[in-house]
Symmetry: C2
């Protein structure tokens, strides 16, 4: 280890509806209806550390891709949105397999739960994180330096409006708690399939909010076939 080795301990963990990677939106903010809860580690669990945070609409989360601890990185990756065949330099993507597997997500701050037993906790929207992901820093979003609406967004920008039509029988959707229904529709409309797969017969399984569901995609329409509570 050199003197520039950076050793970090989590400051918090996030609670989300995703127990598996499959189905997580490819970036933060794509599905605003998704809510998550950030619980500070005991050594940071001090209301003072969040004083003034409610004056910001968005927060940055810096976290670790915890699902790929033991995988190597390569100089190029093949972004799913480009069909999986085009190679892009790892530093020109937000891909998880990078020299330091750090994630950067902008989430909307909905509320601070000051009085929770494990609080203060942050309730946020739009998080693209696996349940239990360790968070290493939380910073306020500063629009006057962080916002560049005119910026070119490379390959990602070309695909930003990508979404597919979703069909789900109402009786299946109603199994979910009301406040989770719009989030599920948002996740599915993002098309969770790897982009290079287009097999209308293939059945995909997705875990969300304690439910397991299956869907097919045919002719650009995603149809949910079944949905059951996980055991």
């Amino acid at each position: 280890m050199s003197s520039e080795t950076f050793i970090m301990e989590p400051i918090a963990h996030i609670q989300t509806d995703f127990k598996e990677k499959f189905g997580i939106p490819r970036q933060s903010g794509l599905v605003e209806e998704l809510t998550a809860r950030i619980v500070l580690e005991p050594y940071c669990r001090n209301p003072e550390a969040l004083r003034g945070i409610e004056d910001f609409d968005y927060l940055w989360l810096i976290w670790r891709f915890s699902a790929n601890k033991h995988d190597a990185w390569h100089p190029t990756v093949r972004p799913p949105r480009l069909g999986g065949n085009t190679r892009i330099g790892v530093f020109a993507t937000r891909a998880p397999f990078r020299p330091n597997p750090m994630g950067l997500s902008c989430v909307k701050l909905l509320q601070v739960d000051w009085d929770a037993e494990d609080g203060p906790a942050l309730i946020v929207a739009g998080a693209d994180l696996l349940d239990g992901t360790p968070i290493y820093d939380i910073k306020p979003y500063l629009p006057y330096v962080d916002s560049h609406p005119e910026a070119r967004g490379g390959f990602a920008a070309e695909k930003k409006d990508y979404s597919i039509q979703v069909e789900i029988p109402q009786e299946l959707l109603n199994k979910l708690p009301k406040e989770k229904q719009a989030a599920l529709l948002g996740i599915l409309s993002q098309d969770p399939r790897p982009a290079y797969q287009d097999d209308p017969e293939r059945l995909y399984g997705l875990s969300f909010a304690g439910f397991e569901l299956h869907f097919k995609v045919n002719n650009g329409i995603l149809t949910v076939m079944d949905m059951e509570q996980e055991g």
Copy 2:
């Protein structure tokens, strides 16, 4: 160390005109005329790792506040822009003294120097980093998820237009290379003084681009008194 201890090695170092903290803009992007050069570590020095990066206007740098390695963090900090007397929670600020002293900066990508001997190197604008700062990740700026011009910016937003008038004799300014002159004016107009100091007699020293200069601030006007090349 727990299993969630995150151990990172630098992927790059940045070369800037700041040998000292004093004078560095308080956020990235505030002084667009500032240019810097990012040199990848040998193990990342592969043109493939940057393939496609020129399609993005801005990059995120995740780095370490290397000037404060041994300082402790506190739940609240006193942002200089608020006069130094108001306490804000550390997670509601971008202050350097935080549990994991990580910096997040959005810089403008000006050019990739593909053919440099230590290249490929990235030439960027607006960096608020000390010369030699280790960088742990570089990510593209994705406007469709990172840009929120309408976001509330808390205490920082209220002070965003803060700048002061700068007076510098032309013969002093001309000592600097032409391409550095606008950057110096930008830095000075940000008012590098700690906000709680307002002593018209006080002489401040600032190091920039190999020059040492002195200035005073009186009645909202910053006047450069002298400037010499550093020995």
